[in-house]
């Protein structure tokens, strides 16, 4: 079987999303659901290799999720480690592969919630971020777009934590509505309603 090689720059290699895309390209075609089911099953029987695989797949996503929730770099690293520790200790609560995404994000979300509770009044940190790839050639358009993007980032950071979480889960972490609702520990209806409130708030703030 030939494996398609993709050249990535070092910077790209640090992005959570491109690396997942690369994995998809390089790995033998296995249905994602089957793969997640198999991983969940192995985790439930305490397979050490499955735990290592889980870390490899998710650690960047979880770190960035925590950063996007407003934790600074150091706190995000600590909370990522704590999230995985909690995941090992509550592995028996994992139902099946379908819920793996939502479950892990819920564990991380709870760790974050406890952190904010302990550190009331601590200011949220922002991500420095990279330049947004833009397909338009016009310099003015690009500048305006970047300004809007900057406004949007700040507006997301100012949202109340529950609304911010919905935007982060669905639009930034790109989870489905079902997975996002599971991760937020709410029903889908509640999640959709929060998402609409968050979008309405953002529309008012970004011009």
């Amino acid at each position: 079987m030939t494996v398609k090689k993709v050249n990535l720059t070092e910077q790209d290699f640090d992005l959570a999303h491109p690396i997942n895309k690369l994995r998809e390209l390089n790995e033998p075609k296995e249905h994602p659901e089957q793969r997640q089911n198999s991983l969940a099953r192995r985790l439930r029987v305490s397979d050490h290799a499955a735990a290592v695989e889980l870390v490899d797949i998710y650690y960047k996503q979880i770190y960035l999720f925590l950063r996007r929730l407003g934790h600074d770099r150091q706190a995000s690293e600590d909370l990522t480690q704590e999230s995985f520790l909690n995941a090992w200790h509550h592995i028996s609560q994992l139902r099946d592969g379908k819920s793996l995404n939502g479950w892990l994000y819920r564990v991380a979300g709870n760790v974050s919630k406890l952190y904010w509770r302990k550190h009331k009044g601590k200011k949220t940190a922002t991500l420095e971020g990279f330049d947004t790839p833009d397909t338009t050639n016009a310099q003015d358009d690009k500048v305006e777009r970047n300004e809007q993007l900057e406004q949007l980032k700040n507006a997301v950071a100012r949202l109340p934590i529950k609304l911010r979480q919905t935007i982060v889960l669905h639009y930034i972490q790109q989870l489905t509505i079902a997975e996002s609702a599971d991760a937020a520990g709410t029903r889908e209806g509640t999640f959709k309603s929060r998402l609409n409130r968050a979008l309405a708030a953002l529309r008012k703030q970004v011009t």
Binding site: Q11, L15, A16, A51, V55, S92, T132, L152, Y171, Q174
Partner: protein, 177 residues
């Protein structure tokens, strides 16, 4: 800003809010993977489920007590209404800060059970205030002429006829005040 325009902008956020992750982080996490991930712990999991469902403290205590009584009954070691398990349960209820009313209702169950068995028992619980810790909830006549009394705080004690009279008199005097 339009809805579609906002969504288009939001779809750019995954890249716009990304930063390099420290390469050693994965290794740090992997070093903390325990040899055995999580053995199935029935009891702890039950408590976690109860906490997860946000059942109140009294309901959680009741669930734990029912589990204890259920196990004790089926393991054949103790009579679930015979005293010790019930007493332990009452102490547990008290420890968890649940209402004293639960102690009275648990005592009432025991009283009804003893009554069904044809024992000579008297119930005082209907006229008691849960605040009086020395109040007698129930008396039961034993074969040797002694009495077993159960107090409102769940304690049990064997007393003579005279001692029982003293306890009841003291209780009535307090009530009269």
């Amino acid at each position: 800003m339009g809805k579609e325009e906002l969504k288009e902008l939001l779809n750019k956020l995954p890249v716009a809010t990304t930063e390099p992750v420290r390469p050693g982080l994965a290794e740090d996490i992997k070093r903390q993977i325990p040899q055995k991930l999580s053995p199935h712990r029935g009891g702890i999991n039950t408590i976690n489920i109860i906490i997860d469902f946000r059942i109140n403290k009294l309901a959680a205590a009741a669930a734990i007590i029912i589990t204890i009584i259920f196990c004790a009954t089926f393991l054949g070691g103790r009579d679930s209404t015979g005293g010790s398990v019930l007493q332990d349960s009452m102490l547990l209820i008290k420890y968890l800060g649940a209402a004293d009313a639960s102690v009275i209702s648990a005592g009432r169950s025991k009283y009804e059970h003893l009554l069904e068995r044809g024992e000579d028992v008297v119930w005082y619980g209907d006229r008691l205030s849960p605040k009086d810790s020395n109040a007698v909830l129930m008396q039961r006549k034993l074969d040797d002429g002694m009495y077993e009394v159960m107090f409102i705080d769940g304690r049990e004690k064997q007393v003579t006829t005279e001692e029982l009279l003293q306890l009841l008199t003291r209780m009535l005097q307090k009530k009269a005040k």
